[in-house]
Amino acid sequence: MISKKEEGKISFIERIQLWQHLLICSLCKLFMKQNKLIASLIPEAEKKSVASLSDKEKQQIVDAISNAN
């Protein structure tokens, strides 16, 4: 339901149920905070990536395409 709320896909009844549950469930509140942080960091992983193909891997791709001719 937390995921649904995040996307705004939550009904009025569900919103009240979630609110009620979060009042008593401190772990769920913590889960929600932690996931919000993770979600915000996921796109960063791509920006910070330094992954690359080795020269050998690049040559393998070139060979595969040449051979497919």
Partner: protein, 185 residues
Amino acid sequence: MHELNISQWVNEYGDQLYRYALPRVSDSEIAKDLVQDTFLAAWRNVDKYKGEASEKNWLFTILKNKIIDYYRKASTRNEERISDVNEDAYYFNDDGHWSEKAAPNDWGVDYNEPINQKEFYEIVEKCKKKLKEIQNAVFSMKYLEGYESEEICKELNITPSNYWVLLHRAKVQLRACLEKNWFIQ
């Protein structure tokens, strides 16, 4: 296109395409295959390329389609569906509350503060790799591509309840993995 051009292409765009594919499939071999398939498809269709988009955009469009195809195949292979209760049993008790061994711990960080260490992002990749293909597909479509849930359900041919369960399981597992390998070691 002759071989020289293929080499030039691969040298110029190979790494960029690979860096795009890798976090989306979380497997270096699969990412490499998708990049190769992209170049192959581009090479086979080079006659149809009219130069309207830049070469780079054209290659990225092909790669994006290849990634969606890969997600669709992962969805077709997915036998899990929501009836797999064993997976939840580790994290939640029968009454639906967090199990003691899997309950979240406070990380003692500012939850609004971004994390800049590149080592953290290596851990993120390792943790994403542990997700099932279909969970990673749902998670990546949502958090890397920003698709709406309806679009994801349609593309992967899954029901909304399946989608929410898969997304929830991906989040629960990723959170636990990051806690164990980074926040609270």
